[in-house]
């Protein structure tokens, strides 16, 4: 029988995978994907908990997260495009003009 804890563990694992992606990736686009992965991990958790409590709030939260993730991608990609036009690269390490 698959219970709440299994879902939560999956969610935690995916969240960690996303986090590692954020920390390790050098390409901005991949970074964005990694954050999406993290947000989706949260979605899994919300859906599972919502089911567990038999309460719709969690699922509602999940929907909001999906919407926000979408707009985030929209804005993020917009900025990335301008950046790519200016720099010709999406590599993080090229992006260190300001420091100190």
């Amino acid at each position: 029988m698959i219970g709440l804890s299994h879902y939560l563990i999956v969610s935690a694992i995916i969240f960690s995978i996303g986090l590692v992606g954020v920390l390790r990736r050098r390409n901005l686009l991949m970074l964005f994907f990694a954050t999406e992965v993290m947000l989706n991990a949260v979605n899994i958790a919300f859906a599972a908990i919502s089911h567990y409590y038999n309460d719709l709030t969690g699922q509602m939260f999940a929907f909001f997260i999906i919407a926000i993730a979408a707009s985030e991608v929209a804005v993020g990609l917009g900025i990335l495009i301008v950046l790519f036009k200016k720099h010709g690269s999406l590599d993080l390490d090229d992006l260190a003009n300001m420091r100190g």
Binding site: L19, V22, L23, R25, R26, L92, D93, L95, A96, N97, M98, R99, G100
Partner: protein
Amino acid sequence: MENLVYVALFAPFVGSLFAALFGMSQRQIFVGVIASGLLAVSFISSLLLAINLYTTGNVIHVTMMDWINAGDISIPFGFVIDQISVTMMTVVTLVSTIVHIYAIGYMDHDKAFNRFFSYLSAFVFSMLILVMSDNFAGLFIGWEGVGVCSWLLVGFWYHKPDQTREENPSISPSWAANEAFIMNRIADLGMLVGIFILYWNTGSLQYDVVFAALPNLDDAVLVTAAIALFIGAMGKSAQFPLHTWLTDAMEGPTPVSALIHAATMVTAGVFLVIRSNPLYGMEAVAGVSFFIACLGTFVAFYAASMALVERDLKRIIAYSTLSQLGYMFAAAGLGAYWIALFHLAAHAFFKALLFLGGGNVMHAMHDELDLFKMGELRKKMRGTFIYMTIASIALAGLPPLAGFWSKDAIIETAFNEHTYVLWFMLVLTAGMTAFYSFRQVFLTFFGEDRHTALGFHPHEMYKFVLAAMSPLAVLAIITGWFMGGYKAFIYQIGEGVQYEMSEHTHHLATYLGLIVIFVAVSGIILAYFKYARTGKNAFKRNEEKEQGFFYKLLINQYYVPKIYEEYITKPYAMISEVFWTKVDLKIVDATVDNIAKFFYVSGDKTRAMQTGNLSNYLNWMAVGAVVLLVIAAISAMLV
């Protein structure tokens, strides 16, 4: 009569201010004349006060105004005219008047003539405050005031450069002035402490209140107060070990030496002890008093010994002053306050005369003071010769001149108190005194003419100057004759100052006097044979003898100045330097700067985390989350 008090006190002050008005302008004879005139006024007032006191016996006590009132302390400007202060006033104003007149001639060619009179009159004013004050704080005003005037006057020729100690033992007038001031300050601290002790134990600084309260005090308090006040006296009266400044102070113009460093200021210490006789006469402080007597005797001998070999005319006189101060302290320490005071007065007359005579010689010899470069001056400077001989006889203590009576009384006192060692030392010193004072007379006025070869053409001083000196000469002769009268006068104060020889001593008085005379005469004869003769017996300098241990010891003043320089002055400068460069800059200040630097450097270090690389930033966030967890866990465990 009260007005006379103020006249006596403020006349010199007015003179000083008047002279100061012209302080920066050309030499004006009238400045000197007016200053002298005002001093004469002061002298006459003092004399009138003395006569009044003598005839009526009424002690005058005036309070001019409040000075310092704070907490429970109340110090007025108050003045008391009793037998002690009036004696001092008369002596001081008389000698000052003469010195002022003398200075008109002596300072004739000096550009700073007017300034000199301003200082000199200011000194007299301070001295009068010192002796007239009715409280210790007022005494201290005068005490410090004379110190400053002494500083100004010793350093009067401030433009002279510093020399090495070998060239000039006093280095320079400005150096000597500073030395005098600083050494006096050391003693002043002692005096201040004495004042503090008296204040906190008696609640006042007025002489009458303090002295009235003395019998109720603890012995320990009395002893410390007596010691502290005596330390003050030691400085001003140049007692060992604070004596070196006095000989160096001879760098000042000779009238200054005569007035300040012989007749008046240096006796302030003796005056203090006499003034505080209710304290020093107490049973509880007998030990201190005896110490004073011993120290006085020691200084008398010590100074006389240095004078034996000295070649500098003024320094010899300075040593003799030191020696005579020792006599005075011996007397005061043994309880014979009135004898000390009498010797103080007599000494003031003959020593001032001696100094002024010395000034004449110096003037004639163009500031050359080396006795070995003089000789046979009596023909060219008859008046001066006579004066100086009189003064020297008085100093040597031969009857019937002033010095004999007073000094003999002191020696007799030592005998009377059964302190035979002191007595013996004092007698011995009397002989030495006679020897060196006549050594000086003979080397200056007798013997071979050594100065002409060196290009000196001495001439006698102005007539008016010699005339002005005559009262001193007369007094140097006759003062002693009035000893009995003075005794009656001063006995009016009360038991404190009364001192009578015992029956036994009285009996032996004649013999004791004869011993002193004998010793003194032997000293003079010895000096005559050694220095006064001419021809093949003439005095010759013996270089070999000057290498001897004792000679070197004496000529170097027992190496005391050297010791002070090596073990006090130099280490002080060195420690100061270390404190500044090593401690203050390298430790105290550097600590502060390093704290600031620490922040700055750690800022630079921390800044390195801000690499500009987004990936690093994201890692920082993850690290931060972990760190937060750790912090939270730790605080959860601790709280």
